[in-house]
Amino acid sequence: MSTPRRQSHVLAARYWDCLLGDLGSLFLILAQAPLIGWLCAVVWGSIESDTPGLYFVLCLSALWFGCINACREIVKERAILERERLFGLSTRDYVISKVWVLAALGAVQVVLLQGTVEWHLQLRGPMLLELLALFGASVAGTGLGLLVSALATTQERAVFAVPLLLLPQILFSELAIPSNLYSDVVGTVEKIMPVHWAFRVFEESAALEPRWHMVALSLGVLMAMCTVLVGAAMVSLLPRREVVT
């Protein structure tokens, strides 16, 4: 008799099969990335140089991908999750299976995004490092999206919440706020924004003398944010909810 697979493996395989079972939606998910990359190339190509603004848009896009991919994935299966939990399904394995598949999807998206931009523009920093920054933003977005999905009561509410979470990423950024309004409070709030840390990696990688400890710290913070958000999603799913409405 073959060794039984871990629940997270079974769940990830099922989730992957579901994605492949709807190729139209999968294509739309993946097509966003080169489309946004191409739009960036159109805008910054005419300037003929990469700018902090481009880095910021790329980081925000990666966060958006992760968040929008994940925001419906638990709430739409809530009844199934509750049912399977009665048969011993582990909430932790369930959420981990989502992270695996969504992270893989996010990785493909950031490669497509960065690849499209690099095709048209020569960014200053090392491509691999920039990909890591975008991937970090994407998985942080995935954590954020999964938390939203775990807390939301309907798919519609989950989708509505995404812009509310992404707007502060813009509002509390050095790029959006005039320097005379950039206070300590804004600076502190900015530090809890995943886009800020991904942007840091881009800035450092484009610098003449990158501070590698800052790069490592920024990537670490992004991974920590993802871990905390995913953990919060697991915790919020722990209370037993009723399946009958």
């Binding site: 039984p4 099922r14 099969d17 709807d22 299966e77 399977e84 399946v243 009958v244």
Partner: protein, 303 residues
């Protein structure tokens, strides 16, 4: 854990169950008895307490008073009860077979791939979906999706199966076929409780429970409900319910000798076979009980 069907360890007894929510009593003194092999139709107007009763039977809401037991076991010790919700809880991008395969892997740990495949083949045949096994669920009709939901629950062979409005949205023909299928499922030795509005198919059930305002207004064989409520058709029953308060319906029903007798009726032969199997300490399964039953029919002294 084997893949074969577990028979109920005894009758389902809902005794004097009361449930309150936010200071309001939703269910009051509900009494039901159902034996293995029986299907019970649960009907009632909106707000009658059907969903609350289902929650209590699923173990999702503990009664404030009374008890729910199957044989000598509380429902908590019985394990997961089969439940088919009104809205399909399925992965629409998967094929029917994949959906069942993943569910079997998650719900039947400790079984081999061969055992699971064999069980999947059994339930597909039981719900008549063998020829649709490779079709993606989103391409199925409403009735077929409902059968997939039923197949999912049958995988683990629960002794008690509860279905919430399994015929909603189906045309009358499909509605009748679904109720027939459920009656056949009950015939394999399970207890099946169906909350339904399919009034024309109620007679396929062995028992009918009419809830109104949290009270049991009637519990007995469906045909007797017509004379009890003095109506010609089941569809007229709800109008009749409005002529008395829910509490007076509850009092009348609890004083009715026929309904009292129905509550304490002995189980049919199938549940007796199951009970004997349980007493002998051997694993209970539908197949075994049916085999015993057949043996008794061929040679009565075999029992």
């Amino acid at each position: 854990m084997g893949s074969r069907t577990s028979l109920p360890p005894g009758p389902l007894r809902v005794e004097n169950v009361g449930v309150s929510l936010g200071g309001t009593r939703i269910l009051k003194m509900v009494n039901l008895t159902l034996h293995a092999g029986e299907m019970c139709a649960l009907i009632g107007p909106s707000g009658a307490g059907k969903s609350t009763l289902i929650k209590a039977l699923l173990g999702l809401r503990d009664p404030d008073e009374g008890s729910v037991r199957m044989g000598s076991l509380s429902l908590a010790k019985l394990g997961p009860v089969g439940y088919v919700p009104q809205d399909d809880a399925l992965h629409r991008g998967l094929t029917v077979r994949s959906e069942l395969a993943y569910a079997a892997e998650l719900r039947m740990p400790g079984t081999s791939a061969e055992e699971r495949q064999s069980r999947i083949a059994e339930v597909l045949a039981q719900v008549d979906l063998v020829d649709r096994a490779q079709i993606r669920i989103r391409r199925l009709s409403g009735g077929q999706r409902k059968r997939v939901s039923l197949a999912l629950e049958l995988l683990t062979g629960p002794p008690l199966l509860i279905l919430d409005e399994p015929t909603s949205g189906l045309d009358p023909g499909l509605e009748a076929r679904t109720m027939t299928l459920l009656s056949q499922v009950a015939g394999t030795g399970r207890i099946v409780l169906v909350a339904t509005h399919a009034m024309e198919s109620i007679e396929r059930a062995e028992a009918l429970c009419v809830l109104v305002g949290g009270h049991v207004a009637f519990f007995g064989p469906p045909r007797k409900a017509l004379s009890y409520f003095r109506v010609d058709r089941y569809a007229e029953l709800f109008r009749q319910l409005e002529k008395q308060s829910p509490s007076s319906w509850g009092l009348t029903a609890s004083a009715d000798p026929d309904q009292r007798a129905f509550l304490s009726r002995p189980g049919p032969a199938l549940s007796s076979a199951a009970a004997r199997t349980s007493e002998q300490g051997s694993p209970t399964s539908t197949d075994e009980a049916l085999d015993r039953l057949k043996a008794q029919m061929v040679s009565p002294e075999a029992s």
